[in-house]
């Protein structure tokens, strides 16, 4: 069996376009998740008891089912509530749900790792609880969330492959379609693998750079 390098040129452009979709979907989803997570994490930490329980339950349920179930649910539920979105945006919505839940846990762990002492010092000075969190604890917590957050970005990128079941034209969907069209199996699998390794690898490298510059 010989390896046909020509396929890289032939299908490369399509695969690269798909890679761009993968990156857009992932970054958008995690970005939205980062917007939704702080209020939810705050509610989880210092909100009234029923709200805390509600957020906790939501987090545990989403974490406790396979991502395909979340994708299926979002796919069917959105039209029912009147939101008819394109495949791309349905995918973003589904990945955002999953990403938010993990981001909330990351944020909560980071703030709790700071210890009660910090909070008490802020309270003793006279800061009300919400300002204590927002202005004094959160900036410290931010430094601690970077490693787990980039890990989560890598997870979201890998999860985006599942969006092929709702026809989002990301790497796996396009690669799979190409395999069925052309029967070229190995070369396309290699292209898919390489694309993912490069994207995920870059995220890891970027995060290490960021960590180093934050520590300085």
């Amino acid at each position: 069996m010989s390896f046909d390098w020509g396929t890289f040129a032939e299908y490369g452009p399509r695969m690269l376009r798909a890679a761009w979709i993968t990156m857009q979907v992932s970054v958008l989803s995690l970005g939205l998740a980062c917007l939704l997570a702080p209020p939810l994490a705050t509610a989880r930490l210092i909100g009234p008891r029923p709200l805390r329980w509600l957020v906790q339950a939501f987090v545990e349920v989403v974490r406790g089912v396979p991502p395909l179930v979340v994708i299926a649910f979002v796919y069917f539920a959105l039209p029912k509530v009147g939101l008819v979105l394109s495949g791309f945006w349905t995918g973003v919505a589904a990945l955002t749900v999953v990403g938010t839940v993990y981001a909330v846990e990351i944020l909560r762990a980071a703030i709790e790792s700071l210890g009660r002492g910090q909070l008490e010092a802020a309270l003793a000075l006279g800061f009300p609880p919400w300002r204590s969190y927002l202005e004094l604890l959160l900036p410290q917590a931010l430094r601690r969330i970077l490693p787990p957050l980039t890990n989560e970005l890598a997870n979201v990128i890998k999860a985006s492959a599942l969006l092929s079941v709702i026809s989002v034209h990301e790497i796996t969907q396009v690669g799979n379609a190409l395999i069925f069209e052309t029967f070229v199996v190995i070369e396309i699998l290699v292209q898919m693998t390489l694309l993912y390794l490069v994207i995920v690898g870059s995220v890891t490298v970027l995060s290490r750079r960021l960590e180093r510059s934050l520590a300085a």
Binding site: G117, E120, A121, L123, A124, L125, G126, F127
Partner: protein, 240 residues
Amino acid sequence: MTLLTLRGVVKTFGRFTAMHGVDLDLVRGERLVICGPSGSGKSTLIRCINRLEEPDAGTITVEGVAPGDLQGLRRRVGMVFQQFNLFPNLSARENIAVGPRKLLGLGRAEADARAETLLDRVQLRGHADKLPAQLSGGQQQRVAIARALAMDPVLMLFDEPTSALDPEMIREVLDVMVELGTGGMSMIVVTHEMGFARRAADRVAFMDQGQIVAIAAPQEFFDTPPHPRLARFLDNILGH
């Protein structure tokens, strides 16, 4: 001029009663030291004063603070913790200035100037830009004292301020506290440092099992203990 009044304060944690109905009065300018075995309720008492713990019964009144005004209370009462609890991402100056800037509305220049003055006062001139990690325990605690003073409190609470320090650094912190007291600050200090109590306190209180068992001027307290349990405690703590 009663600054602080406690009447019948009760605090329980689950089935454990930390405070069994405590009464206390403190006048302006008074320096009170509280000592006692662990679990006696000393830390709980001062944490109730600034409401880090919420009493289950009884009243606590600080002069000039309306009941229910939590923020006002905490601005008039400063607290120094056993574990210092400085904000690790802020420099010494920033730690001291953050309260005045964000809560008292001082401008940056004014707050920084106040911070510099206080750093001077706690013998830390020149360390303004250092992060807590770059300071020794004794230095961190002095910054913590300055941070509490920056809010211009009428009462300072100290929760075992030297218990987490290496022995060589205890003195520098106690000296700051003594100077604070002679300058007229009202303070309540929970501590095991009997030397400090003897030389700097107006009254010393002994707490045991959730109650103030004895309270007297240092001379009487140490030389002629007014209560047998206190006598035994002093024997144990000073005997070795």
